[in-house]
Symmetry: C2
């Protein structure tokens, strides 16, 4: 299994380099657990979902606590057949999911969101979950949408994606649960995610 | 068939509202052919791939011609089983693709990129193509990657995505061809796309 993300932070300010540097500093505690490589378009993070989602959450939360409007785009992937197996990506939640029904996975996901830490910053997220290579992929998608609607972070459905809103702790736990507990445990699942904070046009 | 995109423009400047307004002005010629709805996180565009990709291209090209660093995120989708059929999205390229081999589709895609208009602005793109609900989805992905590598806009492969670089005309034609000619013609295909221009950290 290979699990990781391409992450880009977009501060809507002329001091964008400074905000990006602040965000990247929040990744320091995770450098032992994740492979992190930055180029001119995005930062690659590879590793298990626990440090991976925590790192992305802390990167965005640190930036969102500043006053400027900031957004982030993340492409998350697990189980891509084109990527090599990586022992650092091993995930017990995924291994156990193979023997769990959709209902059990929905309950475990809901509990995890309830237990999420509070980070003290409210964010907006818009995301799409993609389950590849499975004939019944829409069953898993609809099962995930049911979980999302009861998660406490659900904001609204839109064409092609779902909006979440809430504390960064609960929102990123919702995303991690969606990523891990829906779609085949050994399958190829991706998330296309946009986060936003301090938007002047917030509806 | 339902085809469309959620589009967000991110100018890295404190005058971001002005740049976004400039970009949205470039959509005016397409308002008859596309359904366009903007909220606080993204702009929904629904319609056939010809005006759809042209509109997204012109939106970004207009912004990229300004001096500021600007990025754009686009979530593209065709054939999502959860969306209603929409006659305005009808696409001859997709209808013909049902009877074409992978090799034929690769040749037609390459020719379309050669015929693309030149817009006079060089951009960077990073994207992932997802083919859902098909057991052989990786064959179509690898077929698309072969097309990309010969397209003239290929820059490099990265984990989870592919980088393109070139004139906005050729780059967006490459994306449209990838979106339409790979994966089942009646299937659910999506693209997770990030574009960038005027980056100070361009490698």
């Amino acid at each position: 299994m290979f699990i990781g993300a391409q992450v880009s932070l977009y501060p809507m300010t002329s001091d964008f380099v400074d905000v990006i540097t602040t965000g990247l500093d929040a990744l320091t505690p995770y450098k032992g657990d994740l492979r992190i490589e930055t180029d001119d378009m995005s930062t690659l993070m590879v590793g298990a979902p626990e440090p991976l989602f925590d790192a992305i959450r802390d990167l965005f939360a640190a930036s969102a606590k500043r006053p400027e409007h900031v957004t982030m785009h993340v492409t998350l992937s697990r189980g891509c057949p084109g990527e090599p197996d990586d022992p650092s990506c091993r995930c017990e939640t995924l291994e156990r999911a193979q023997d769990q029904t959709l209902t059990e996975r929905q309950q475990l996901a809901a509990q995890a969101v309830k237990n999420a830490p509070e980070l003290g910053v409210v964010i907006d997220v818009q995301f799409s979950l993609y389950v590849m290579g499975a004939g019944q992929h829409m069953n898993e998608i609809y099962g995930c949408i049911d979980f999302l609607k009861d998660s406490g972070t659900f904001h609204k459905s839109k064409n092609f994606c779902t909006r979440l809103r809430g504390d960064a702790g609960a929102v990123f736990e919702t995303l991690r649960q969606g990523f891990l507990r829906f779609g085949p445990a050994e399958g190829h699942v991706t998330i296309d995610l946009t986060a936003s904070a301090n938007s002047p046009s917030l509806g």
